[in-house]
Amino acid sequence: MDSAKVKETLKQAITAVLGKPLPEDENVWLGMNGRKDWDSLKQVEILLVLEEEFGIRYTEEEFAQLDTAADIVALTVHKCNEETSAPTDDGLFSYY
């Protein structure tokens, strides 16, 4: 998964959940975090958007522990790539 796609979706998710536009500068908004820019409830909402858009699942701990927007991007890219590399049903079938 391309991190640019994840960043774009995350930006849309944060904008929709917080109800306000984010700074244009990527370095600025990627530094935003759940300690000062949104609360734990909004963080869950943001992650639920990403789950839905990318077909991934975060653990209960990940919902609670994530820090900055950049951390969310990194974890999401990692999870997307995990999902992609995991054998699909079709892949499994091809072994037989």
Binding site: T9, Q12, A13, A16, V17, S40, L41, Q43, V44, E45, L48, V49, E51, E52, E53, R57, Y58, T59, E60, F63, A64
Partner: protein, 559 residues
Amino acid sequence: MFSEVSSNIKRMEGQPILFSARPTRLSLQQLDVGEDWNRAVSVNVWRNHAMEAIASLAQPYFAFGRWQVAFNFKDYDDSLMFGGHSAADIELLWLDSSRYLENTDFAAWSEWLLSRLGVLRAATSAPIIVATWLETDEQRHRMQAIVDALPDIYFGDIGGVCADAGVELIDRRIAVATGSPVSNAAQAVLARKIACHWFPAAISPPIKALALDLDNTLHKGILGEDGIQGVELTAQHKALQEAVKSLQQKGIFLALVSRNEREDVENLFAQRSDYPLKWDDFTVTEVSWGDKASAIARAAQALRIAPDAVLFVDDNIGELAAVTAQLPQVHAIHAHENAELTQRAMEFYPGLWRWKVTADDVKRNQDMKANAIRESLLNEVTDPEEYLRNLQVKLVFNHSPEAHLQRLADLCKKTNQFNLAMRRFSLSELTERHRSENACVACVQLTDRLSDSGIIAVIVAELHGDLLIVEELCVSCRALGRQLEDTIVLWTIRNMPQFQQCQQVCFRVTHGPRNQPAIKWLAEHLEVAPEAVQEGLNGIPKTKLEQFTPVQSVQLSEE
């Protein structure tokens, strides 16, 4: 006018997102369907788990229905103390049943819940919705029985909604962080259910008729170009027609509003046996090359309903814009190329879904068809008494209609034309008056040899000193046009127990947008012009009712 039309189109543009099979959180949060709301609604939320996220997802659906909804979220309270209650349009109990059932059995909890509902019922006459999930069918039946025990209370079956939508209800991963175990997928479908079904069915005047375009709405293709065998009934269009037919069987009127040659359309329905909808399913057929706004206005008139009780479905945005410009009260949705989306937009259109479908609802279509025969009978005879004798009309009066109070509340909510006071009494308000010694709630049932119209009138009167004040007077449009209004109204009042104690009968009047027939009826008894009928109380002497003779050719009885 232009902004009205453009906002209607903006809402229709949101349909593919709002009524997709599984609306996503991001798409709903990004959707802008406008803010031209025409009704402000307040909701008290008594809860033991979070509801804020669902309320947020419901906002675009409320905007689609042109509501602005203010939620008053109360603190989490398992004990349902209802502290700090203030008036609201809807009371919502948002309950995680597992928090109770971990510690107690269902029977004990349900008994306790019934007592708490009694406390809330005593504090407010607003409709109450109990939204929760249960483990078994037996528990769901028991919950239904609990809410049925008190007036104007409804069971919102959260588990059933999620099962129907094929989504998991519970997601424990997010329970601690969000304050609720309701999953992300469930949140979106519940938001739609609440905003499009539960709330409008509790407080809105209902949609009574579908005005349906034909080409590229009920089938794919254009009859005039593709021919009878050339138009395609796709699987999605077939499902749409089946859904329309199901609504018809529940009492929703169907009007076919199509620009075509009438003969072609009749032949289409005669020859396409694969169509679930048949020509006779339409109570009104407006097939011509004239404008659709006039056709819909005529259809509403023929059905004796107001234009704001009509939902117009058409694939042509230009037609939709033209109709909503000329008849701004008419509701409208865009028929999408994918008929599955049209079906969902129709089924979720606010005001179409009902908490309960009554036997009287089911009779409605048959009764309206019988009206056409009645009208031709009326044209054939010159003597009204002979007309009524031919029809074998029977009126059954009931001055203690405890078993029918729900139907009477529906009648108060739905009746627009012969509705004198427009009080729109809720079930709890009717129940309160039914139990009062100084008040009488009465109703009238109508049958004739063509159909059983069921309960067609409700009259509520209260004794204040020597005045008997008629606080609510509604006669269904199904009973109008037979010259029975005097017998229905005056005979009912005359037989109320409180009538003996009064010296004068006063009718409360509110001038509504469409209640001219009721005002005109009263004006004749007051012997004044309709425009001279005052808002507030209008009295007629008791003697006038005492001297009244009901129509002789109608059989009258008391239930």
